[in-house]
């Protein structure tokens, strides 16, 4: 490497984008950008929560009945799984901070595993059950329409919100899994070290946010009016 190239490399590490003056500015910009994106997600999910709150206020009876048609055990298990995945994600970021490549990859894979477990529990135990019990709203699956005679239309509205809110959440989790996969690949290629791990930190913020959404979804959907018997 020539002198000029060596100086350039020293002043301009390969992970520093050309429009930034130094790595601190780049890192701060990245973190701020991700927080702003999470603020938009607060408003995005928040709009759903607001509509849900209004209809729960209007049709408490039906929402109560709908909530009791869900199995809170799976909801609680999923909550534990996601909280665990937040722990492993925080540990992954910590490993990146310390430049521990193997630990970083291990914790990222563990996070992905827990995320897949979450989706697995949802799909195999909850949603397929709901399908069999005619709880999916509307006419999406002909022959398996929602039984409004048995449950009432307010319960159908509840399930509409249930599927939409948990579905949107699941979509965000799938995107998160994709991001984790990319991070694992980048870490395996040695792209991160103690001086540069911003993508890991910023993705961690996203993952924790998805966890927080579930922290609210669980009580609001599964625990309405208590789990006690009528």
């Amino acid at each position: 490497m020539t002198d000029a190239a060596a100086t350039h490399a020293a002043e301009h590490p390969p992970y520093l984008a050309h429009h930034f003056t130094d790595i601190e500015q780049q890192n701060e910009a990245g973190t701020l950008g991700m927080w702003l994106f999470l603020v938009t997600e607060i408003m995005f999910f928040g709009g759903l929560f607001a509509a849900y709150a209004i209809y729960r206020y209007m049709y408490f009876d039906g929402f109560y009945k709908g909530s009791h048609l869900l199995d809170w055990h799976y909801g609680a298990a999923n909550t534990a799984v996601l909280i665990g995945s937040s722990l492993t994600m925080a540990l992954a970021v910590r490993a990146a901070q310390l430049g521990q490549r193997k630990a970083l990859i291990a914790f990222l894979l563990l996070t992905m595993l827990l995320g897949i477990a979450f989706l697995g529990i949802k799909l195999t135990f909850e949603w397929s059950n709901d399908y069999r019990e005619h709880l999916i709203p509307g006419h999406l699956f002909p022959g398996m329409e929602f039984d409004t005679i048995k449950h009432g239309p307010a319960v159908q509205l509840f399930f509409c919100f249930y599927f939409f809110m948990t579905g949107l959440h699941a979509l965000h989790m799938i995107v998160g899994l994709g991001i984790m996969a990319v991070l694992v690949w980048m870490a395996a290629r040695g792209r991160f070290d103690a001086g540069y791990f911003a993508p890991v930190e910023v993705s961690g913020l996203y993952w924790h946010f998805v966890d927080i959404v579930w922290i609210f979804l669980f009580p609001l959907l599964y625990l309405i009016g208590g789990t006690y018997k009528q």
Binding site: N27, F49, Y59, F60, D61, A154, G225
Partner: protein
């Protein structure tokens, strides 16, 4: 970007706290507190959220700007819900159609001056 490294012990403690709060919220749901069930559940959820935000997301050691943005996000959501509820809560909601069951009792019509 957080500069100092949080010890593993802290993360695990927060994780255990979150699990405890999850168990608590399930347990409280088995007790009939009437309308307070929702309030307690939401309070516990907010505490869990704060634990994740402050410790897992490093906001405790983040800049004032970051904290301002986060607060603004929640405040704006509050605006949406509060203003919408002032209307939905003070209108005479029509009785629900057949089969919809009982709604919460709509507030009494305001007396004409």
């Amino acid at each position: 970007m957080s500069v100092h490294v949080v010890p593993v012990r802290t993360y695990v403690t927060i994780f255990l706290l979150l699990m405890v709060f999850t168990a608590t919220t399930v347990w409280v749901a088995t007790i009939d507190l009437g309308p307070f069930n929702t309030l307690v559940a939401l309070t516990i959820a907010v505490i869990k959220m704060l634990l994740v935000i402050l410790f897992f997301m490093h906001v405790r050691s983040s800049s004032a700007l970051t904290k301002t943005f986060i607060l603004a996000g929640f405040f704006w959501l509050l605006l949406l819900m509060a203003f919408t509820l002032t209307d939905e809560g003070s209108r005479n909601l029509p009785p629900p159609p057949d089969g919809w069951g009982s709604a919460t009792v709509a507030p009494a019509a305001p007396a004409k001056p």
